[in-house]
């Protein structure tokens, strides 16, 4: 009976997970109320923490204040970057594990706030303020809950012992060669910093283990955590990449495109030289932990205190999220391999198929229109079976049009399977356009399998075809060479398919399955018909960018005729290049608040309905807002990282479209200003002018006395429906960012967004 119950439980568990990921995956988002870490301004946090230093005096106090200033602002930048998850299933689970492992230290637990960082790296961080970040990459790689508990205990020690601040203060001493660090060379300074950091890590390992041992977690499978760290550079699994994954019944990639013997994973236990590392070597840490748990009593202890099912679900979610993150971060080869690994388990998952399709499309576009190296990682040093994917992409890129054709073959297969999916349709049509632009036509592809039209045609067969064509006309007498060739071409066109030649390649048979599908033929021919339009579109886009870039000097202006738009977290930075601490945290934050308010004011004056989504005015109920900002920030980052030549739709168009629908506008605006003070660039000139033309001294004095003031004001407007960059306005102004100047430019830009071009 017990065995049966166990079997039933396992079955139910696997069914639950399978059902969740079987057909699709929806990215995880934050839920519930916004934690106070998000709604309190960095300056307020800094002021509050500064109070604790009231009793202290001297330089040490100043250093600590500096640390508090920089750390609060630095951490908040991460918190509000859109890369953080809270109250989502992942964060909830990790917090539950923290509750268990820190059950005997409720005070510390009460102070810790644990969030998930959407990063593919395998890591966790603790801050001086009690915030712990655990990466998605870490959750995707862990073997069990106990390992996560150990990592959390380790991070809790970092927080308790105030390691972050200590490291900052010690680093400062080392840098300024104070006390025992007197007369250190540059290299010795570096080594000293590493040594100090390692000392802290050893302490965190040691004390973290003590916390762990007092909990009810078992040490039985704890040591695996060091394998997780050691092999963190590898994907979450290592499976042979199947040759047929990107092929179809007639499209067969050449054998030499596959690397059968991939670089083996280095599994040797080598005592690393860790002198220059912030952490002790894994071998050292493993040994220390091993000796620490040698006498541990595991009686009544378990690997899972929260839930094994939950752990597996969370890990699976993290793995899906990894695919998404790789895709968003343009690491397409990793996205393909990770998706491939999960597709083995969930062959019908649309999200994974689309991730592969998008990654292929993106690489095809880079290969075709930009620099493939921008998105390709050199496969030579990649260990493990994933190397085959990197190698395959490299090989496909080396031959013209092979990558777009391979991508189109895969995407067309999906198009047939999901005919109503807009994203797939967009990729499919984009790839056809791309091929057509490079003079690949419908007739260049065979509608018969290779067996019917052999790759290397024997001369007799060709002669027969040519002879047949000639028989159909006449002996050719009285006709020019060109007339004869035109007639032949017309014949081929009428009959469809291609006339095989000795140079026929494997790509010719990429679409045999689809050539006779009316929609495929129609889309291809339609694209050929509009080939010139495609080129014109590209040139227009290029002109727009150029005009935008030089707008301020060439007097170009826009008239977009937009009534409603959304502004994504306006940016403002104050930098004083004359000072040692160049970035002015407090002024930047207050400037950002002011900038957002000013935007609203000017939009009102320009009669533009502007929804300003700022991270500086959040309240606890605005979790949806921060989720929306996160999606929009990813969108903007992606668009900024994608060269204008690459005609690539955004990979998460559905999410962006949902936000556009929610706010009732297809236009996203990213805008901001950077105020820079540096040494005046033209002081000598002003002095000369003042001497030669004394009256000008009235105007020159302010510039002579003050430093050089410069302002960069920028605005980007995207139409998220078409992914089109509608406006680029970048203005470098030789002036300080005063409110009136900002108002002038903001109104000017918003006016251009709102106004409609007058009829000529």
């Amino acid at each position: 009976m017990r065995i049966f119950t166990l079997f039933l439980a396992c079955l139910l568990y696997s069914l639950t997970i399978s059902a969740q990921f079987e057909t699709d995956y929806k990215p995880v988002v934050s839920r519930g109320e916004l934690p106070s870490d998000f709604v309190t301004l960095s300056s307020q946090k800094y002021e509050a923490e500064k109070e604790s230093l009231k009793s202290e005096k001297g330089k040490e106090k100043k250093k600590k204040e500096k640390f508090l200033l920089e750390s609060n602002f630095g951490i908040d930048e991460v918190l509000l970057s859109g890369r953080i998850l809270f109250n989502d299933p992942l964060a909830e689970y990790v917090n539950k594990v923290a509750d268990k492992v820190l059950a005997n230290d409720p005070e510390t637990r009460g102070k810790l706030r644990i969030y998930i960082l959407k990063s593919t790296s395998v890591n966790a961080f603790a801050t001086n303020q009690g915030i712990v970040f655990v990466t998605v990459g870490m959750l995707a790689q862990l073997e069990n809950e106990a390992q996560l508990a150990f990592i959390l205990a380790h991070e809790a020690v970092h927080y308790k012992e105030k390691h972050a601040m200590q490291k900052f203060l010690e680093g400062d001493k080392i840098e300024s060669r104070k006390g025992v660090y007197k007369s250190l060379s540059q290299d010795e300074k570096y080594l000293s910093k590493s040594a100090f950091s390692q000392q802290q890590e050893k302490e965190a390992d040691e004390k973290g283990l003590q916390i762990f041992l007092t909990s009810k977690y078992s040490t039985a499978h704890l040591m695996g955590v060091y394998d997780v760290l050691k092999y963190s550079y590898l994907p979450f699994d290592d499976i042979t990449f199947d040759k047929s994954f990107l092929e179809n019944s007639t499209f067969k990639l050449p054998d030499d495109y596959y690397k059968k013997a991939t670089l083996p994973i280095d599994v040797r236990e080598i005592e690393d030289d860790d002198k220059r590392s912030t952490h002790p070597s894994i071998t050292y840490r493993r040994e220390k932990t091993q000796s620490g748990i040698a006498n541990a009593n595991n009686t009544g202890k378990q690997d899972y205190l929260v839930s094994e099912t939950d752990f597996n679900t969370i890990r699976e979610t993290a793995r899906f999220e990894m695919c998404r993150l790789y895709k968003v971060k343009h690491r397409y080869e990793s996205a393909i391999y990770s998706s491939y690994l999960l597709l083995k388990k969930y062959p019908n998952n649309l999200f994974l198929k689309k991730t592969v399709a998008y990654s292929l499309t993106a690489m095809a576009q880079y290969s075709d229109k930009y620099d493939f190296k921008d998105v390709h990682y050199n496969s030579d040093s990649i260990e493990g079976k994933s190397q085959a994917v990197f190698y395959l992409m490299f090989k496909l890129d080396s031959a013209r049009s092979d990558l777009p054709i391979t991508a189109l073959a895969y995407v067309t297969k999906l198009k047939k399977e999901y005919p109503n999916d807009d994203e797939i349709d967009g990729m499919y049509k984009g790839l056809i356009k791309s091929l057509v632009t490079h003079n690949m036509h419908y007739v260049d592809f065979s509608n018969l399998p290779p067996s019917a039209k052999p790759e290397v045609i024997d001369t007799a067969a060709v002669d027969t075809v040519v002879a047949t064509l000639q028989e159909d006309t006449d002996d050719g007498q009285g006709k020019s060479k060109y007339d004869k060739l035109r007639e032949q071409a017309n014949k081929v066109k009428k009959e469809g398919g291609i006339l095989p030649t000795a140079s026929t390649r494997y790509t010719t048979y990429a679409f045999v399955e689809f050539m006779n599908e009316p929609w495929f033929k129609q889309d291809f021919l339609e694209a050929e018909k509009h080939k010139d339009d495609v080129e014109a579109d590209r040139l227009n886009a290029e002109n727009l960018l150029n005009n935008g870039r030089y707008y301020w000097t060439k007097k170009k202006q826009f008239a977009l005729g937009i009534d409603k738009a959304i502004v994504i977290d306006p940016y403002y930075a104050r930098v004083d290049a004359r000072k040692k601490d160049q970035y002015k945290f407090l002024e930047s934050e207050s400037g950002q608040v002011d900038f957002a308010e000013r935007l609203k004011l000017n939009a009102k004056k320009a009669k533009l309905d502007l929804n300003v989504l700022s991270t500086k005015d959040l309240d606890a109920s605005e979790t949806d807002k921060i989720n929306d900002i996160a999606v929009m920030q990813e969108y903007i980052s992606d668009r900024l990282a994608t060269p204008s030549d690459v005609d690539l739709p955004y990979c998460e168009h559905d999410r962006v479209k949902a936000i556009a629908a929610k706010y009732g506008s297809d236009y996203f605006i990213y805008t901001g200003a950077i105020s820079l003070t540096e040494k005046s660039r033209a002081k000598a000139g002003l002095i000369v002018m003042s001497i030669l033309v004394p009256p000008t001294i009235v105007f020159n004095i302010p510039n002579l006395v003050s430093a050089g003031q410069y302002t960069l004001y920028f605005t980007l407007v995207y139409d998220v429906k078409t992914d089109e960059l509608k406006m680029v306005s970048s203005r470098e102004l030789n002036n300080s960012t005063n409110p009136v100047l900002l108002n002038s430019h903001m109104y000017d830009v918003l006016h251009q967004v709102k106004t409609t071009a007058k009829a000529k």
């Binding site: 004056k605 000008t696 000017d748």
Partner: protein, 239 residues
Amino acid sequence: MKKFIFSLLVLIAIIAKADNPGYQGLHFSVKYDCGIMHPIIVGRPGKLPMLYHNGAIDYAISRKFSVGISYGFMHYNSHIDTKLANQYIYDFYGSSSDFSAKYLQHTVSIYLKDFVRKRGFIAPVGLYYKYGLFYQYARNNYEYPITIEGSYYYDETYKVEARKATVHTIGLALGVGRNFVVANRILIDFGMDVNISFPPFGFIEQLNETVDIERKYNYREYLCRNLLQLHLGIGVLAF
């Protein structure tokens, strides 16, 4: 005249069609400015303050330019201090008795202001250079006729009984200044202006007797008065 009307119509059409931001959509400003001039500058020491008043309307026609029209008025009583006149200005008055004169000046100008885009200014805010044309009427009324006995510069004995000297002139109105906006509506303007007469010193005089020296005097005074005017103004951005 036809050409002028045509040009005016073209200008109005340009302004009406202009698609420019102004300052937060405000293109039109009404402004008053005044300048204080020290009597010594004009070479005829008088009673302070020697004020000139100026009223102007401006319209921003593009991001870079605004056009405007202004009317200026200046009126003061000169009081000649013999010593000062002797020492610094004109020995011509060396032996004269005290006298005073009433000065009146009306100036109308049209101008174009070019706002410095490199510095990031959009009309009507910020540093600008002014280019324009002016018409000016100026008159000096001498209340006390004087008798000049002579000086070591001039051997002759002059007897000037001038009652009135007037001038009508046109010229180039140039200037540099800076507009500040306060409370999104109020315009503060300071700067300096130079009026260069064309043709230079085109006086039409109505003098009773020998005029050469007095005329020279008037020329120089006029030149000084127009050479450098510092102004500080306040205005309203209307619409």
